[in-house]
């Protein structure tokens, strides 16, 4: 079994060897490490993507907008990932960013996961029938764990989710009521003697 340290170092070096700058290569190393840590096939897909770069060109996005269309080429997931991390604080106001085509979309996942941590919001990444929920770089949940990941995807959505509860008020109140059974009813005597501060505090 390869250690995560080996995965990071080798991904970084391979990325540099293929022309990414050292700073970008460092980002790739961290990201592939993260993908493998979360149980996604990072090394496999990075390999395939780097192989495809020998025969295909990919669009290197610069400034990301709400709607991003590359006329001829698929977006490079690595350049897009790095730019997303750099620009994420400006992009989150859009609530949603759209991309018309990305190569190896799985390689974008770790960058989005890190974006989620940077902005402190969950991010939903959708393409075709696949959905990935990026949870503050702590976990990634998905409906797409089975089978191969696509080598390209079109009409992708990156949705910045507002921080809100994913349960109803009623559900919360019900649970809270049960939790109250761990509290002690305060008698007059307890009110006077058990608190640290006095009953009045006018000084």
């Amino acid at each position: 079994m390869k250690s995560l340290s080996e995965i990071e170092t080798t991904s970084k070096r391979a990325s540099r060897a293929l022309g990414f700058t050292w700073g970008e290569a460092e980002e790739v190393g961290k990201s592939i490490r993260l993908l493998e840590l979360f149980g996604f096939p990072g090394i496999k897909n990075l390999n395939q993507y780097y192989k495809s770069r020998k025969t295909e060109n990919f669009e290197k996005i610069k400034l990301i907008n709400q709607i991003n269309k590359s006329e001829k080429l698929l977006y490079c997931p690595i350049t897009l990932g790095v730019r997303l991390m750099d620009q994420i604080k400006k992009l989150e106001i859009f609530q949603k960013c759209l991309f018309n085509g990305i190569a190896y979309p799985i390689l974008l996942l770790p960058f989005l996961s890190r974006c989620s941590e940077i902005i402190g919001k969950k991010i939903l990444f959708k393409f075709d029938k696949n959905e990935f929920l990026l949870n503050f770089n702590v976990s990634i949940s998905s409906n797409s764990f089975q089978g191969e990941f696509p080598i390209k995807a079109s009409d992708l959505e990156v949705i910045f989710l507002e921080n809100k509860d994913n349960f109803s008020d009623v559900e919360w109140k019900n649970l809270y009521k049960i939790s109250e059974d761990t509290f002690v009813e305060e008698t007059d005597s307890l009110k006077k003697g058990a608190a640290g501060a006095g009953l009045t505090d006018n000084d």
């Binding site: 700073g23 460092e26 400006k90």
Partner: protein, 553 residues
Amino acid sequence: MNIKLRDPNVIMKLSRLGSFHQSRLSFLRSFLNEFKDWDYKRDLFDLDENGFGTAVYSFKKKDRVYSLICFANEIKDDERSDRVIATKWDAAFTLHDGVPHKKDIERLKNEVPKQEVGRLSYKELTLSRANKSVRVFNHVVESLSNGNQPNLDLLNKVGYLYRTTAVYGSGKFGLADRFRIKNREEINGPFRLEMMLVYLVRQFTFDQVNHVAKKRNPKSATELDLKICKNLGIGNSTGLGMAPFIVNHPTLLNNWILCRETALKKIREIKKVEIKDSNMFKECVRNSIKNITSWNTESAYQLVKIKDLLKDVRKFINFIEKDFNFKDDYPFNKIFFWLEKETCEECIEYIVSIMMEPFSEITQPLIKEMSSDEEKYFNIPTERTVEELKSILERKYPNILVINFEKKENNTKFWFISKNKEEPRLADRFEEQGSDLEQPLAIARDIKELYNQLLQSKNNLTIDKFLIENSHLRHVVRRAFIIEKFPYSEIQDNTISEKIVPIDMLRLKLSFFGALKFDPRSDKWLRICMFQGAPLPHELNNYDEQWVYKNHS
């Protein structure tokens, strides 16, 4: 009195970092302190009459066990090399997490002796190999088998029976990643498990030499005297492999240096020093003369440094014994100013280390601050502006920004990774090929380039936009934002200068390990000794913490 921390632009110069010495903060000393109440045991010792075979040693406390597995193998004299190109060693070691099963030992027997080309698992924490000092080892076997103790002059000159040539950890070759073990309280300090490996290897070398002597002459052999054992350490040969580490781990480097500087600051801020503390300090300085005079090297570079150090330490002893009164207020602050004025860099840092000896209440809490969660500081704050970044560079790299990298002498060297051993190397870019594959270790040059680019950019441009056109500077943009928070995170020197002395980088790291007796064999590698004079395992529960200044010859 509020003393300021020392200026990173002074302390982080390579010549200063290359003058650092071990101290109470050093990792091998904090390892001994942490594991002093653990149960030590030799679990297996299955060597043949020539000392070849397998041995297992362990430290245990409650449910936690760390086991050193040793494989001693026969090699030919012409196969023995300390260089990283070697493929065979007298002994190979791994530190296993827990008690190894037989099948673990069988698996490791096939892998550990192969070192870099073997594969370890997440159950192994560190990996190393070592070669005998054949001259010393054979002499000791010969002496002991005849019932005599060995010649102390020879032992003192070398200082060890074996020297390690690499100690690996943190995920190398399949070893456990640091994240798996980082929350364990007992290893809350850098390189603690590497130190454990080396310490247990030291004991193995004594057991092996006794065993071989006994097998050679069962009737008359004697065991190596425990006092002699104590005065032997483990040697280590270290090359450039260590140098990039301190560049690649800026927040960790900061924490090491910051702890040392914080300790010094707090000691200088002590108004009244108790007599017992000043006496301990003076005693350590006096005793340390023995460490200097027994420091053997053939390196002209190091001999000059030792000579200057010895001269200045003697001058200092004369000063504190004749002209100095420890009853004065803030005595260590006065001593510090005297040192700065009167002595060389090597001596300043030597005495700074000794100043810590009486003050475990200052150093002990700092030891826990010497690790770093580097991931936390990896992301670049891209919402910041060009103006802010420029200001950081001007404040934090003033001496770097004045270097002219157009001059050949400032841009002579390049760092690269060798294809055959995947190890860092340093070469002349104007004489050797390969500089197109240069590693990102020329931080000073790249910082200067970043600064020049920033000068041509609009002040209110945010970093996310700056990086679009300047992606090749991303690695140093990251570093600049790190140094803003971590003042000692960067070497304030040119690591590709014609005049660079790479062993300064090695010495910095080795001093934090706790190494003694730096012996440069060239400007790119050196030998050192670790644990010389340290308590033996059976003495750990009650040992003299100032052993560095008391025991070894």
